[in-house]
Each structure stands twice: as C-alpha cells, then as structure tokens.
Symmetry: C2
Subunit: 425 residues, 2 copies
C-alpha cells in the first residue's frame, strides 16, 4: 500500500474531476458504499480468484472469544475487493429510493492481498460506472461512449477497445462439444493466451479431460482466431450463436465504426475472456497498445443482481485508475491546475493581521498564499524551496514561487524561481 | 457503516470541493495515506480511547497458521482510527520529498468500532489540515483562519470557537498540587463536565486519590471557571503559566477580535480538554451553538512526530465532516450544482447514433443527458421520474426533467417536471 505525495494527489484529483464531470454530464450519479462488507456477501459472489485475496477483519470482544481457530470463524467482515459486488448489494438494499434506471458512478479504494508489482497495489482506486435496469445493448453503448469520452479528455489518444461476448464463448465451447463440467477450466486456460501463447494453450488443453474431437475443434479455432475489425459473421452462424447476441455485437461494431473518427480502434477479439465469473454478455478490454497494458475493462453481468434479491440487467465499465495515473505521470500530464505560490514570512505573530490582509488580496488574484514564521533562516528556506522546484512532486508545476518578508519597516519580495510579477505588497 | 444515495454524495462532493479549494488557496496540498497501518503504529500512539476501537485485520496464510489464539497474535494490521497518526508516520517516511513546512490536507475514511449513534458511524470521513515544521503560533492562527473561511463558504454562520491550552491545564494541576500519577485521571474527569456537570465532576474528584488541598483548589476553580471572551490574565499569573503559552493565547484572542467582524465568537474555555493524549499546546473546539454540537476540533501535538523519528512542531484542525453534512442536509443546502436532466429514449439500438448526436449538442449546453431504451413503458417511466422528483435524494434538485422519444418519424418531448425550455430536438 502506498503513500501519495502532494504532486501525485494533484494529478489524481485532476483525473477524478475530469472523469466525474464527463460521467455526470451523461446522467450518471455518484453513489458510495462502505469499504467493509459482510464476508458471506463477498464470498461466492463470482469474484473468481479475487475472493482468495480478501483482507478479513477480526471479530471483536465476545464474538471473538466464542470463535474457534479457523479463519472463517475468526472473521465475519472483509474489505471489498471490487465495487461491483457492493453495487449489487447496494441496489437491492436501496431499490425503493433509486431511479428507474440506475446510472451509478463509484470511486473508491478496494483491497486485494496480492503480491505487489508495478502498477498493482494492495490498496488501489477503482473508478466504475454501471447501468442497472436497462435491458438493451444501449446500456453497453453508453458505457463505452462515456468512458471513451473521459479517456479522451484525459489526453489519452488512440486506445484500442477489444470486445467479445460470453455468449460467443458459450456457443464456441458448446460447438466444440466441451462438457459443462470442463467449461470453467477451458476458459481459464484460454484467458492465459497472452501469457503462454497459442501453442501453450493448445498443449495445456490436451491435459484436461476433454474429448479428442473437442481438442481438435478448439485447436483449429485457436490457430485461426485473431482480433479483427470486422465480425466473423460466418463463424457466428457456424457455431450457432443466438441472434440477440449477434445483434448486440453488430451494434458495438457500429459504434466502433463511428469511434474510428476519434482515433479509437474497436476489435472483435475472441481472446478477451475476463476473469470474473459473473459476466454473462458482452465483455471489453481497453488497452493502450503503445504502452502494452490495459486501462479499463467492462462487461455485462445480468445474473449478479439476482443473487441479492433484485434481478435486473446490469453492466459496468471500470477504468484502470492506477494504470492511467502511472501513464499520465510518466508524461508529466495533469499539471493544468498549478498556481503560483507565495510565502508570507512574519517576524512575529504580531505581524499576522498584516500578512492576512495581504493574503486575502493575493488569493483573490488566484495566487496560493501561505503564511509562516521566521524560525528557519531565510537563506535555507529559499534553498529548500528551490530544491523543491527541481523535484516535480513538490513544486506541483507552479509557474513561479516567491517569499515576502513581512516587517513593520517595509515588506521585501524574494524570488525563488520563475517569473515573479510586481506584487505591489 | 452507511450507503450514500446520489443526492447525499452530491452534497458531500460539493462540501469537499469548497473545502479543498479554500485550503488549496492558502497553500495547503492534499496528501494520501493507505487505510491500513501496522497495528504497532496505531497502538500506543496517544490515541486514547480510540485505540480500543481499532478494526484489526486477520493475518493470512502461514502467518495465521503460526499465530496462537490471542487477538494480538492473530492480527498485525489495522484500519486507521484517525488521520493524525498516519500523518506522523507519513512525515517520517517521506521527509526528504516534502517541503520545508508541510501544509497538508487529508480527506478520507477512518474506522472505529463504536456503537453507532446519530451523526456517528463506524466508517466516517475525516477532513484534516495540518501544519508540520512551523514552530510559532502562526501555524495555529493559519489553521483557524483557513478552517473558518471554509466553514463560512459552506454557509455556516456564527460558529463559536472555544479554546484552551494543554499547558494551561498542566499549570493548573501543578498549582493544585495534583501528583503526576493522577493528572490523566483528573483530565478525564474534567472532560466529562458537559455530561455530568460541575457538581458531578467535583463529587467524582474526591473519589480519586487526591490530597484534600488539591480537591479544594480544583473545586474553587471549577465553580469559578467559565468560558470568556477575554483571557483570565490574573489567573494565568497566579498558577504560574509560562510566558510563551500566554503569548500564544494572546495571539489567538487577537485573531478572535478580528473574527468577531465575521460573526465568529472566540471563547477561552477551560472546560475544553479534548480526548487525544497527544496534544501539547493550544486546543480548540468549533461548535454550532444553535445545533448544540461540535463541527470541528484542533490542537497542537508537538511530541507526536518524535515517536516516528522526525521530531517537529505540528498542529492540526479536523472538520467534523459528517456532522456538517447532517447539518447542511437538514437545511437542504448544497444543491448549487444541480443541472437539468434529459432522457433520450430510443426505440431500438439502431437509433443510438442519432441520440448520441443530440446528446453531444445538449451536453454542451449544460444539460445532463442519459440515453436509454424503451423496454419500460413510457407512462411508467414518466411516473417513476415524477416520483423521484418528490424524493429529494433522487432528483438532486434539477430545475427541470424531460424525456425525448427518439424515432425515425420525428422526436417527441415529454415534460416530467419543471419549466422545460424549447429543446429544438
């Protein structure tokens, strides 16, 4: 888990304001759930591998005294591992107070007890929009449009959106005569294609209890499959994909044709699987090809809501907030809100009233003004502030910084760096 | 712990934006620490009663298998109970990358396993500013000025700031010949004055192992003590309060004289104690007298930083975010950002491109636009939206709401409520 320095928080806040403004303009409203949920809600929620990574919270007092030593007895609460399971619980609990179609924004930390790696933390921000209660593919089209608009306003150009559909995967495995009991294992394998390659997946397939004919059919498919701008319509028909799924995929491809004008590439990609078990329809991965990583994922999870007693069509798009922050930080983006900075240095607390009067005037001019004492030597203050300007995370991109000595005999301006205007102090 | 509905989050976000803008104008910068800290840092941090309310996180895997059954062995991490202890840890860890004087803003949830009551939750937002590295009382003066400016911009009029000083309390108890071993017990008792009254405190005092003379002196003081706009200068001298403390209190009282013009009342109040053990200098409580509750607290905690290896003067002001949100919600404040809302209703996903084109134009005019399907009947959609307007938390104060039916044969506008202008769709 990570501490954030002022410059980092500034970038993150700027990202958030851009994202929230874009989402809000499209009729989405922010909601919030607690960080902690009952463990029995988090477990068995279709969260896949993430359910193994839950931080569990120790019971307290009497409840703990009466628990035996097993971990399930010691804890009944856990930190959320995503924002989708809490949303399903929220929707059921607050149904009567929510609008007919809920367009929700959720922004907040989630926790997973993983081995940390670059761009992956044990506490990280998730930034989701979800549409609950809209049955047609319009919900997915809106999620994509709105998320791509946010990405574009963040200054990320030419991302690639890869899409697939769980119904396509189901039809594919059914066409290949894969037994229901083996479906999960085959999907997990196919999800590793990026890591172990086509031949790796094919090699592993033969180790599962699959029919020889099934392996052969899957092998042919895997060798031939490639991400494509057009849809493999003939293959859809060959594997017997249902008409509703084809219509949804056509609508998504049509949105892709329009998005091409904005430099966004849509690719139908049968290799997109997505780990969470709860997806039921279209699934998406948003990547920056130049950087080689994913900056967002989405999917339809129509069966999740029923688990909490309020069956409803639902889909969500999750921006990879931490990855995007890393990407933008490397490009020194997000300095758009930097303001000049002024330090008013008082000889004594008796100068405070005078400093405050000056401060009020300069703040009204858009300058950040801090009032401080003179216990530190002026020279060393200037030196430290100049060093801070060198370190990007401290200066936060201020165009200029100055120190004013407040004194009964007249105030003196000391330039730290940048082009300090006449301050008339 | 609590779910927040869209209208509630809107109010909270508005509060946050006002607070963050005010703080930032005065040279404060936001930092962020993780929700989870090592338990050994949270315990023994001077957090008083709050240390007993920590949610502890169960160890995992091997570490758990090797733990015996005691709670200290089962957990090595905990959820933070305030933002001050994490700040001290942060300051020590990131010292080399921070400016000479750190003016930090921290906003985020903290957790305490308390019995929930009105305005008190087990997960709640804290909103702190702290100044680390400024030795003079200028730090306290800035904290107060800046916090009062934020309170005023939130539309809260005429708050009362009660102040005291831990050094005054120390001098008082020393003057009353209270043995060091009894100081904590006496302070805890005096902190209960609001709950059990003067006579209650006096009655309890005689039950502690105090000298008869000490009880008599304290009794006289407690009977005579009252919050006052002027400082009890003669009494300061009588109990031998050090000159530095008197000078600080004079500076705070002078700020109060200036703040009186803005309707803020400063009172020196010996009954202000504040629970946290880590305070060492001036302490403050900000109250709305009409509502009868505290909306902020502050204090100087010069010894806390040393615990983490970086001794430094420090003080902080914590706004009672949840209390303020409650107060404003009851007064229906914070609807300043409400926008009109429009729903574009498509017969089929084929209408999406047309709806999107209309949406782009209207969003540029400042209208929130959501695109949706027509699986629900138009009548029932209008009815639900009208009901939502009645429920404050759903309508979010939009001045008008309408639905447009998108169709190849011409679009039709349906008013939901409010004064819908000619939309030219």
């Amino acid at each position: 888990m990570k501490d954030y320095l002022p410059g980092e928080v500034q970038l993150r806040n700027w990202m958030l304001s851009v994202i929230l403004e874009t989402y809000s303009q499209h009729g989405f409203s922010q909601i919030e759930t607690p960080a902690v949920e009952n463990l029995d809600r988090l477990l068995g929620s279709g969260g896949g591998e993430n359910e193994k990574l839950i931080f569990k919270i120790l019971k307290r007092g009497d409840k703990l005294d009466h628990a035996d030593g097993t971990s399930s007895e010691l804890a009944d609460l856990g930190l959320r591992f995503d924002l989708t399971v809490p949303l399903a619980r929220y929707y059921a609990n607050n149904f009567a107070k929510l609008p007919p179609v809920l367009r929700s924004i959720q922004v907040g930390p989630v926790w997973r007890a993983e081995r940390p790696q670059r761009g992956r933390l044990r506490q990280f921000m998730q930034c989701d929009i979800d549409v609950v209660g809209e049955a047609s593919v319009l919900a997915e089209l809106e999620l994509l449009s709105v998320s791509l608009a946010a990405i574009s306003r963040l200054g990320i150009e030419a991302p690639t959106l890869r899409f697939n559909d769980r119904r396509f995967l189901d039809a594919l495995l059914s066409w290949a005569d894969v037994a229901t009991s083996e479906v999960a294992a085959v999907l997990i394998l196919m999800d590793k294609m990026d890591k172990i390659g086509r031949e790796g997946v094919i090699a592993e397939l033969s180790k599962i209890a699959l029919d020889v004919g099934s392996v052969a059919k899957l092998e042919t498919f895997i060798r031939a499959s490639a991400a494509s701008q057009g849809l493999p319509r003939d293959f859809f028909v060959e594997i017997g994909l249902e008409g509703a799924a084809i219509a949804d995929l056509e609508a998504i491809a049509a949105l892709g044709d329009a998005a091409a004008n904005d430099g966004v590439k849509f690719l139908f990609d049968p290799k997109v699987i997505r780990g969470m078990g709860y997806y039921t329809g279209p699934i998406f991965e948003l990547t920056i090809d130049e950087a080689g990583y994913s900056i967002g994922g989405a999917g339809t999870y129509d069966s999740m809501m029923a688990r909490f007693g309020r069956p409803s069509p639902a889909c969500g798009f999750s921006l990879g907030f931490e990855r995007i922050a890393l990407y933008l930080a490397e490009r020194a983006a997000g300095d758009k809100v930097a303001q000049p900075e002024l330090y008013l240095r008082c000889e004594s607390p008796r100068d405070y009233a005078q400093a405050k009067a000056i401060s009020d005037i300069l703040i009204a001019q858009g300058i950040k003004v801090a009032i401080e004492g003179s216990s530190r030597k002026l020279d060393s203050t200037l030196k430290q502030l100049r060093a801070a300007n060198g370190a990007q995370e401290m200066s936060r991109g201020a165009p200029w910084v100055a120190v004013v000595e407040i004194s009964a005999t007249g105030n003196r301006v000391h330039r730290v760096f940048g082009d300090v205007p006449d301050l008339a102090v």
